[in-house]
């Protein structure tokens, strides 16, 4: 493991912000920490960077305990949330900063700055003032600056947070390609699941300073660890259920579940695709309360008579109107029993 956290704990005024976090990042791995604001993501990065003292636990880089090693000797890079470019320096001097701290010669600096600006798609921006850059350009400069000293671990704090959507979607792909090509080890934090799933080899979901789940994007998406993770990922159809043999008893009635599902009182997730709309006199009777256009499909909000609300995904043309009465049936393939 390039980076290991062992029971890392940080308290602010007695309240744990990082609560006994264990986490490992292997060489060349891209790990994305996902969580709502206030879940301790940024504190995690600051602790690894050496900007935040641990109250207990250990942080190891290449197997060496980093306690007492100041930030500037850890050899990790951090891209700040709002970039924190040095306002009084131009683009080239910002990128060259870390190289200058390493004592690189002017020639080496110029060479590497040019190389990195090409890499992030800003060739010829060397002499520009940072104040004159757009948000996307600033983000690229910040990335180049963080990459310049070739840190053994690159950390990104909400790397694309302030950019507009289309730019974000393009950049996240570029970043993934770039890191793959360079073999960079990356630890990123974000509150945006789309960003995390697109960027990461492994996603770590945090809640209240603890790790709620860790796994590949596919694992996390298909089997959220618990109701919190499922809801955080945007799933609405999450209920308590009593799981029996191939069937579960829920407020929505009896629902089929996969054969290998664990038995007992469990949390049940019904993905919107698993909610099938049928004529009103068949299945669970619901009223359509809202239709949300999602581009590839329409999300339909359904209110059964005596049960929690349901969300269903419908084809663009098949979606019912608000106020329509419909019936609902469930598909075992899109139902997951959590925990």
């Amino acid at each position: 493991m390039l980076l290991s956290l062992e029971a890392a704990t940080v308290r602010f005024g007695g309240r744990p912000v990082l609560d006994a976090v264990d986490l490992g990042v292997a060489e060349h791995e891209i790990v994305c920490v996902l969580g709502p604001s206030g879940s301790g993501k940024s504190t995690l990065l600051r602790a690894v960077a050496g900007l935040q003292h641990l109250d207990s636990g250990r942080i190891l880089l290449d197997g060496r305990d980093q306690a007492g090693v100041p930030a500037h000797r850890r050899g990790v890079g951090l891209m700040f949330q709002d970039h924190q470019l040095f306002p009084q320096r131009d683009v080239g001097k910002n990128v060259a900063f870390g190289l200058r701290m390493q004592g690189a010669s002017r020639g080496e600096q110029a060479e590497r700055v040019r190389e990195l600006l090409d890499l992030v798609g800003l060739p010829g921006a060397v002499g520009r003032a940072v104040a004159a850059l757009s948000g996307g350009e600033q983000q690229r400069v910040a990335l180049a600056r963080a990459l310049a000293p070739s840190p053994r671990l690159l950390m990104l704090d909400e790397p694309l947070g302030q950019l507009d959507r289309s730019l974000r979607e393009r950049l996240v792909v570029e970043l993934r390609e770039l890191f793959g090509r360079l073999g960079t080890t990356v630890l990123a934090v974000t509150h945006d699941q789309g960003e995390a799933f697109a960027l990461a080899d492994r996603v770590v979901v945090m809640r209240d300073g603890r790790i709620a789940q860790s796994g590949t994007p596919l694992e996390v998406w298909q089997r959220p660890a618990d109701a919190f993770v499922a809801r955080f990922l945007g799933f609405e159809n999450v209920v308590e259920a009593t799981v029996g043999d191939g069937v579960a008893v829920t407020p929505w009635g009896k629902v089929p579940v996969p054969e290998d599902a664990p038995r007992g009182t469990r949390t049940l997730l019904v993905r919107p695709a698993g909610v099938r709309l049928v004529p009103a006199d068949e299945g669970l009777r619901c009223t359509v309360t809202a239709r949300i256009f999602r581009g590839t499909h329409v999300a339909v909000r359904l209110q059964p008579e005596d049960a929690p609300r349901l969300e269903a995904a419908c084809g663009l043309r098949a979606a019912p109107e608000v106020g329509d009465e419909v019936g609902v049936e469930f598909d075992a393939a899109d139902i997951a029993v959590l925990g």
Binding site: R46, A49, G50, L51, P70, A71, H72, R73, R74, G75, V76, G77, L78, F80, Q84, F86, P87, Q88, R89, F97, G98, M101, Q102, R145, A146, A148, P149
Partner: protein, 533 residues
């Protein structure tokens, strides 16, 4: 941190302790009962009362007159702004004696107003109050205006968009951001007026006397050292209380402000109201600040053209061992040395104070740094004289004594100028530098220094000018063959005769010009730096 502490221990605490011991200790025993005795005297209480209320009124008056000025200098761009800004600062760095004399020439007997309309204010408290405003106008304009010009106007615009009126936006957004600077400025003005010496000495006559004047009178006229020591302690306690209060309020309101380049926030005045405001401020500056200086300069030429100036180069004046003009060279040398010391000590202290992990003790030092401002310069000078003239520290014959005393007075200015800017530097920029491999010292040099360079230059300018004009302490320790400008002026003023009076005016005018040139030079540096960003 250790260096500033040691500096203050040796050159401030030790002399003050020496003077207190000299005052309260007789025959090897302490006589603390003296404090009660002195406080019981009705004339002492009268002095205390006058000192306090005139300081309050002076501060209020200064804020009232100078805050519009701060706004105009911060937000308006107009031709001649740089020159006007420098001119506004000149009075502040003039020796108190000269200011007193300039106001005497304006509102006193035989003064300009007397000649024109028969108006005399020198027997009223108004002369003192006006002189105090004259003096401290720059404090408010510089401290408040400096920050104001760097506040992002978009913050106010955001408030306007949320439905706040122009005034409500100012009151809820700008005012809170400015509050620490206003508090700092008001505190400075209050301190300066509370400990006012030269101005009150000259304009107060026998009627009005501040603590400082009383201390001086007790020390040098009545030679009642123990009463002087008790008065010093009263002043010490009062000043300490004010400073503690100030440190508390500043700390409570400390926030990282979003600062922008000053050059982008200023624009040309628009509409009749704004032009009228600008005109009013310029008129105030002209009447209140420039007129006394003009009268001073006019009087220096009133002899026989350059007669008074020629007299300065002659050795036969008898007042000094050297031609008075040599005081210019002495003053400049002392001021350069004092500035170097003050900037070094002040920067070290400022950096230590802005460190995030600065403990309670260190932050308490913030207030302590201001003490030399509050304790009378006379005390500092006299303390130097009696404390540093014998082993273990015998500096009496050394030239460094004068710059040391002046640096002591200059350090608080350096700290006051640098702290707000240093505190406003986003800590995460330092962190960004640290993550890129910069050691804490390197991060400071690479991140903070470029941002505070301007503040540092301004601080140096202030320290230089203050050293140049410092009088109260220097008068005790400058050697007769090496007088500084203010000391020379005071000695000339103390002698009868038109020639001496004229020479004093001429020398004051030279001092005024030296200060003005130094400040104009600084203003140039300022704009060059701004252009770089």
């Amino acid at each position: 941190m250790a260096v500033p502490v040691a500096f203050f221990a040796v050159f401030f605490a030790y002399p003050v302790a020496a003077i207190v011991a000299r005052g309260l200790k007789a025959d090897g025993t302490w006589h603390l009962g003296r404090i009660g005795d002195v406080l019981a005297q009705s004339d002492v209480r009268q002095v205390l009362w006058f000192t306090t209320w005139q300081a309050f009124v002076s501060t209020a008056l200064t804020l009232l007159i100078a805050l519009p000025g701060a706004y105009v200098f911060a937000r308006f761009a107009f031709p001649g702004k740089q020159v006007l800004r420098a001119m506004v600062t000149v009075p502040f760095v003039l020796p108190t004696v000269v200011v007193g004399t300039a106001f005497m020439a304006l509102v006193g007997r035989g003064g300009l107003l007397d000649e024109l309309w028969g108006v005399r204010l020198d027997t009223t408290v108004w002369a003192i109050l006006l002189a105090h405003v004259f003096f401290n106008y720059a404090v408010v304009v510089r401290t408040v205006g400096g920050l104001w010009s760097q506040l992002d106007p978009r913050q106010e615009e955001a408030a306007r968009m949320l439905g706040a009126s122009r005034f409500a936006a100012w009151r809820t957004v700008t005012l809170p951001a400015l509050a620490p600077a206003v508090a700092a400025a008001a505190l400075m003005v209050f301190l300066f007026t509370f400990t006012s010496f030269g101005v009150v000495q000259i304009l107060g006559g026998p009627t009005f006397s501040t603590l400082e004047v009383e201390i001086y009178r007790q020390t040098s006229e009545i030679f009642d050292l123990s009463t002087a020591a008790v008065l010093t302690m009263i002043q010490f306690v009062a000043v300490g209380a004010i400073l503690a209060l100030h440190a508390w309020t500043v700390r409570r309101r400390e926030t990282a402000l979003r600062l922008v380049d000053a050059s982008v926030t200023a624009r040309r005045p628009r509409g009749a109201g704004q032009w009228a405001l600008l005109a009013a401020v310029v008129a105030t500056v002209a009447v209140l600040l420039l007129l006394p200086l003009a009268v001073l300069a006019e009087r220096s030429f009133s002899g026989a053209g350059l007669g008074y100036y020629r007299a300065l180069t002659r050795e036969d004046g008898g007042v000094f061992l050297v031609p008075p003009i040599e005081a210019v060279g002495n003053s400049l040398q002392y001021a350069v040395a004092a500035t170097a010391i003050a900037v070094l000590i002040g920067s070290l202290a400022s950096v230590a104070l802005t460190r995030r992990d600065a403990g309670r003790l260190v932050r308490g030092f913030d207030a302590l740094l201001m003490l030399p401002l509050g304790v009378s310069a006379v005390t500092v000078g006299f303390g130097f004289l009696i404390a540093l003239d014998e082993p273990p520290l015998d500096l009496r014959a050394s030239w460094i004594l004068v710059p040391l005393a002046q640096a002591l007075v200059g350090v608080p200015f350096v700290v006051r100028t640098m702290l707000p800017v240093l505190r406003a530097v986003d800590a995460r920029l330092r962190e960004a530098a640290a993550v890129l491999g910069a050691s804490p010292w390197r991060a400071w040099r690479e991140v903070d220094l470029p941002m505070v360079r301007r503040a540092l230059l301004i601080a140096a300018g202030f320290a230089f000018a203050v050293s140049l004009g410092e009088f109260g302490a220097t008068v005790f320790i400058a050697r007769p063959d090496n007088p500084t400008l203010p000391v020379a002026v005071a000695r000339l003023l103390g002698r009868p005769g038109d020639l001496n009076y004229g020479q004093a005016m001429a020398l004051s005018t030279i001092l005024m010009i030296v200060c003005a040139v130094a400040l104009l030079f600084l203003e140039r540096l300022r704009t060059d730096r701004t252009g770089e960003f």
